[in-house]
Amino acid sequence: MYDTIIIGAGMSGLAAGIRLAYFDQRVCILEKHITIGGLNSFYRMRGRDYDVGLHALTNITPKGTKRGPLARLLKQLRLSREDLQISPQLGSDIVFPGVRLHFNNDFERFRSEIAREFPKQIDNFDRLVTQIVEYDDLDETHQAVSARERLGELISDPLLVEMFFCPLMFYGSAREHDMDWGQFSIMFRSIFMEGLGRPYAGVRLILKHLVRKFRGLGGELKLRTGVDRIKVDNGHVTGVLLENGEELQARRVLSSAGWPETMRMCDDSQLVVSRATGRLSFCETIAALDVQPQALGHRSTITFYNDSEQFHWTKPDKPCDIRSGVICSPNNFDYGDELLDEGTMRITALANFDFWNGLDERKYALEKLRWYDHITASAVRFVPDYRHRVLDTDMFTPTTVVRFTGHDGGAIYGTPDKQFDGRTHLDNLFICGTDQGFVGIIGSIVSGIGMANMHCLRD
C-alpha cells in the first residue's frame, strides 16, 4: 500500500514526489513513457544530444534573492542554487514589423526599450507594471479576468499589446486569443521582471537532480508503466490498475496526466462534466550548426517574432502557422568561459494536431521535411540565415508531444480551463502539473510542490 501514487514523471510529478518522500511517505511515480521529463525531456540522435521543451528557465532572480518562485522551490525541495547551475540569458527580442523590443534579466532595460519605441505609452506601461506587481498569485479570484480587456484599458497602442502577448502566449497560454489576467501577470513577472536562464548541460541536469533526490529519499520510479485505470470504490480511489495488468493500492493518487486524461482513467463510470481539450500545439525544428550562432551575428537568446501587426494565437488551418514563432539558441546564455560544442537553433511554431496525426509514416516523414523548410525560411527573416551551416536537423510535431506528454491533441499547455485547487470529484484524487494551472519548468515544479503540500501531506 502506497501513501501516494503519482501519475507522470514530469517536472510536477517529480517535485511532488520529492516533497512526499522527504516527509517519509511511501511514494511511487508511474511513468508511461520510456523516459522522464514529460514535455521537458531530452534525447540522443545520430550522436547528438537534444533538449525537448525547455528553451530557458523563467523566474531567474539574482543569487541570494529570497522571494519569488525560484527561491521558493529551491527551499521546498532542499536544493541549492548551485545544483541547477543556471546561466543567465545574453538577451532576447520581440520582433514585429519595424519594431524590436530587447529585454534581458534587468527589467530597466525593457522599460527603456518601451520608452524609446513607444514613448506615448511609457506612463501607461508603468501603470500596467504596478498592477502586475500587485497581483497576488496565491489569490485566485482574479484569474478569470480577461488579460485583453485589462490591457485594453491600460495600453492604448494595440501594437504594444500584441508585442506583450506574443512571448507570453507562446510560453504558456492554453487559451486561444486571450489569457487570464492572473496567468498574464505571473508570466510577465517570470519572463520580463525576473528573467531567463539555462544550465549549461540543459534540461537533463535539472531532471537528473530531481530523480536523484527522489530516489535518494526512498521514492520509487517505474518507467514504461502506463496506468490503465484508476480504481474507484464508493467515491474513493483505492489504487490503480496498470497496463501490464498489475494492481497497486494507494491511499491517494496525484495525477499530472492532464484533466481529461485523468478523468478518463477513473473507472467509477460517473459522468464527469467533460472539459474541452486544448487546441494549441507546436512543431519545433532543431538545427545543429558547425558554427556558434554569434559568429553569424546572432546574439539573441530567444527571438519572438510575428510578421504583421496583429498576433494570431489560435489553432492554424494549415499544418503550421509560419507567421509567428520563437527562435531559441541555447548557445546564447552567459556560460562564462565555456561554449557549447556546436551551434544550435530551435524554432517553435503553432501547428495543427489533426493534420500531423492523420498522416501515414511515409507521408509524415515527407511533411516533416517540407515544413522544416517552411518554418526555417520564415524565421530567417528575423535572424541571420544559418541554413548553409547546418550539420543535422530534427523536428518534433504535435504527435511527438502526445508521445512525450500523453496530452490529448498534443495540447502543449493542456486544457484552457484549469483546476487551480487541484481537486476532483473524488476525495483522494488530485491533479497537478499543466492542467492544475502552472506552466513552464518552474511553474510545473511549483505546481507539484503546491499540490503535494495542500492535499498529500497534512494527514
Partner: protein
C-alpha cells in the same frame, strides 16, 4: 528536551528550511515573519520537520503558535519535554 534544546532544534530546522537566511541576530520575541522571508509553505515545513524528526503532530489550528521563537518554544515545551535529545 530542555528549553534550550528545543530552541536549538528550531534554529536547526530554520537553517534547513531557509538556508539563505542569517539567523545569528534573530530576536526571539519578534515574529519570524517580520525578520525572515518566510511564507505559509515555510511554516508548513516547520510543522512537517517536527513531525519527521520527533513524531509530533501539530493541528493546523495551532500553526499560529509558531509565530516567534518564544511562542514556538512555549508551545512545544509540553510536547517535547519527554523527548530525548539525540
Amino acid at each position: 528536551m530542555t528549553t534550550a534544546d528545543i530552541k536549538a532544534e528550531i534554529l536547526d530546522i530554520l537553517e534547513v528550511i531557509a538556508p539563505d537566511e542569517d539567523l545569528t541576530n534573530l530576536d526571539d520575541a519578534v515574529n519570524f515573519r517580520d525578520q525572515l522571508e518566510l511564507d505559509s509553505m515555510d511554516f508548513l515545513d516547520i510543522v512537517m520537520e517536527l513531525r519527521k524528526r520527533h513524531r509530533i503532530q501539530i493541528p493546523e489550528d495551532d500553526y499560529i503558535q509558531l509565530a516567534s521563537m518564544n511562542s514556538t518554544v512555549a508551545f512545544l515545551e509540553p510536547l517535547m519535554k519527554d523527548i530525548q535529545k539525540v
